[in-house]
């Protein structure tokens, strides 16, 4: 683990020396996120988002624990207890709005973190396990966010629970019993609300555990970098602290600025007005939409409007939606190019941006009503999404001619500096 030139932890104070002998926790932190972790010297601001995701999780856990002190997970009073938090609890409005928008901020930084990984090939060997654990975290986040959204027991909460648990009823034969088992009833009710609350409280700590594995797996090969060239010697790296603690601090400031702007000025921008109406099992809102971070997947779910082969449309939709995420587990093996960074992959760079546009279009379709032209758009978008990973990526990784690459990180950095000084030089 780590490089031979990594700085060694040397406690000066006798108390720290005593602690190091008994429980070397400061040593662990020093080696993981301190001066003992050598990091490539050329990371750009896209490498901030891992730390930002960790900060977002911490904010969610802290605000969530506080909210749980005032919330009541009972179908009869849940909605009113949330209103009680908003109106009566001291600073309750602030804590709840922070938790609501904190979830969105968490997804924003995680999506940027994922697309960073896609652009710079961070999922490639030797970091496949980092990527796989990341996809696990993403899945856990989606489960947690969904169950959290049910807790206020508004109209969107209730009907979201109905629709999402309805996915399971698409499974042939055992689907309906599974759905009833998940809900503890025939429709979402008190039993479902209670278990969702229990799991919503549990899962963030599971996420924190998988994050530890994610960082552990990352620290074995060390962080990737924008050139995709592995670290060769000491001059390619700088210690994590103070260099990247400072750089992450800048990013954290920007993150908190955006977070505060959302929370204080437009706290309901990303929510739905329908969720301020108490759950009514006899009336569905005219337009059911999930939270924005599920839109692209929701569009894929709804893209199947016709039966195909011997499988009906409903089951296809559910299969496609889960496959869209499961596909990411195979990414390290679908892309066989030895070059990691898209900086040196002219073809992959083009298709990366097309994929970004495709996901944005799918997101827009997922937000819109189930009518034309959004149905056909989401069908095309879904086909392209799968084609990107299953056809385009395997082909371009074979036929692409990478651009000439520098020999080392240091060479790349120095060439960039020379460029900057002597105007347009050739690479």
């Amino acid at each position: 683990m780590s490089f031979p030139w990594a700085k060694q932890y040397q406690p000066q104070h006798p108390l720290m020396q005593w602690l190091d002998e008994k429980l070397p926790l400061p040593r662990l932190a020093y080696n993981a996120v301190g001066a003992g972790y050598p990091v490539p010297r050329n990371l750009n601001y896209f490498w901030n988002f891992g730390v930002l995701a960790g900060a977002a999780l911490a904010i969610q856990i802290i605000t969530g624990i506080v909210l749980a002190m005032h919330y009541a997970a009972n179908a009869g009073v849940a909605f009113n207890s949330v209103e009680h938090i908003m109106r009566d609890v001291n600073a309750g409005w602030f804590i709840r709005y922070a938790h609501m928008n904190g979830a969105s901020m968490f997804f924003i930084v995680v999506y940027l973190h994922i697309f960073r990984g896609l652009y710079y090939g961070s999922y490639k060997a030797p970091r496949e396990m980092v990527w796989l654990l990341g996809v696990v975290i993403f899945l856990l986040m989606m489960a947690t966010a969904f169950m959290g959204y049910v807790l206020p027991w508004g109209q969107m909460s209730f009907w979201g629970a109905q629709v999402i648990t309805g996915f399971f009823s698409a499974i042939p034969v055992v689907g309906d019993p599974i759905r009833v088992w998940l809900l503890g009833g025939f429709a979402p009710d008190n039993a479902a609300l209670n278990r969702f609350f229990s799991l919503h409280y549990l899962l963030p700590f599971v996420i924190a555990g998988v994050i530890i594995l994610h960082i552990w797996a990352l620290h074995i090969p060390g962080s990737s970098n924008p050139t995709g060239i592995e670290v060769k010697d000491e001059q390619d790296t700088v210690p994590f602290h103070p260099y990247y603690t400072a750089k992450d601090g800048v990013g954290l400031g920007v993150f908190l600025f955006v977070f505060a702007a959302l929370t204080f000025f437009t706290p309901n921008l990303l929510g739905h007005a329908d969720n301020y109406i108490a759950a009514n099992p006899l009336s569905t809102p005219a337009h059911i939409v999930p939270e924005w971070y599920f839109w692209p997947f929701y569009a894929i779910l709804r893209a199947f409007t016709f039966n195909f082969l011997w499988i009906d449309a409903k089951l296809w939709g559910v299969i496609a939606m889960f496959a869209a995420i499961a596909l990411l587990f195979f990414l390290p093996w679908l892309d066989s190019s030895p070059v990691k960074s898209s900086t040196y992959r002219p073809l992959n760079r083009i298709f990366f941006w097309i994929l970004v546009a495709d996901v944005l279009i799918l997101g827009y379709c997922g937000k819109s009503a189930a009518e034309q032209p959004y149905v056909i758009l989401s069908q095309i978008g879904s086909i392209y999404y799968f084609a990107h990973f299953l056809i385009i990526l395997p082909i371009i990784s074979r036929i692409e001619r990478p651009l000439p690459m520098p020999n080392s990180i240091t060479e790349a950095v120095l060439a960039k500096h020379a460029d900057a000084e002597s105007a347009p030089a050739t690479a």
């Binding site: 109905q162 503890g184 009833g185 429709a187 009710d189 039966n307 409903k314």
Partner: protein
């Protein structure tokens, strides 16, 4: 018998009495652990009070021809519709073989009571409540029910005609306890 084979095997190569004890102990513990999982999984199923709501009586005397009401059974919405003659004719004019989920109106109602269409108000796609039971709601392209969530259209016999839903609206188990009272469940 098993111990016989074990003993003969033991003479041959490396299988000892301790191996038997290891396997027996781990198997015993494994079966015990699996047995404990059963109540932990089963507690998730509907509890007795939820199941106790499984029968509901409805008075249908006030529902005039062409009208529908929404009621509730097992916490799920139920539509009770008094079909008009036109709606019955429209439903019978369709060849069942052309349908996604082939059923005739007669199969979905009780003999002699063909005008009473009783279904769950739960779209078979992902469980939204379709529109069309209340006055003035959108009844879709086929004059029955329309689910606004993902655009499923049901006809006057509440059969799926267009959209993503795989099957017709479910007809719950029910009986006419008298001419004006229906017991669902």
């Amino acid at each position: 018998m098993a111990s016989d084979t074990e003993q003969t095997a033991g003479i041959e190569e490396g299988v000892r009495r301790r191996d038997f004890i290891n396997i027996a102990a781990v198997s015993f513990a494994g079966v015990g652990a699996a047995a404990v999982v059963i109540p932990l999984v089963n507690q998730m199923n509907p509890s007795a009070d939820v199941l106790a709501l499984s029968s509901t009586e409805i008075d249908i005397s006030a529902i005039t021809t062409g009208q529908a009401i929404k009621t509730s059974w097992r916490k799920q919405p139920v539509f009770v519709r008094n079909l008009t003659t036109d709606e019955i004719t429209a439903a019978n004019a369709v060849k069942p073989s052309d349908l996604r989920d082939p059923q005739t109106l007669a199969e979905r109602t009780k003999a002699g009571k063909e005008n009473w269409l009783i279904t769950l108000g739960v779209c078979t796609h992902l469980g939204c409540v379709p529109l069309g039971a209340a006055e003035g709601e959108n009844r879709g392209d086929f004059g029955g029910y329309f689910c606004p969530c993902h655009g499923s259209h049901y006809d006057t016999a509440a059969r799926i005609r267009k959209g993503p839903a795989p099957t017709n609206l479910v007809v719950p188990p029910y009986e006419f306890t008298s001419d004006t009272v229906v017991t669902i469940g």
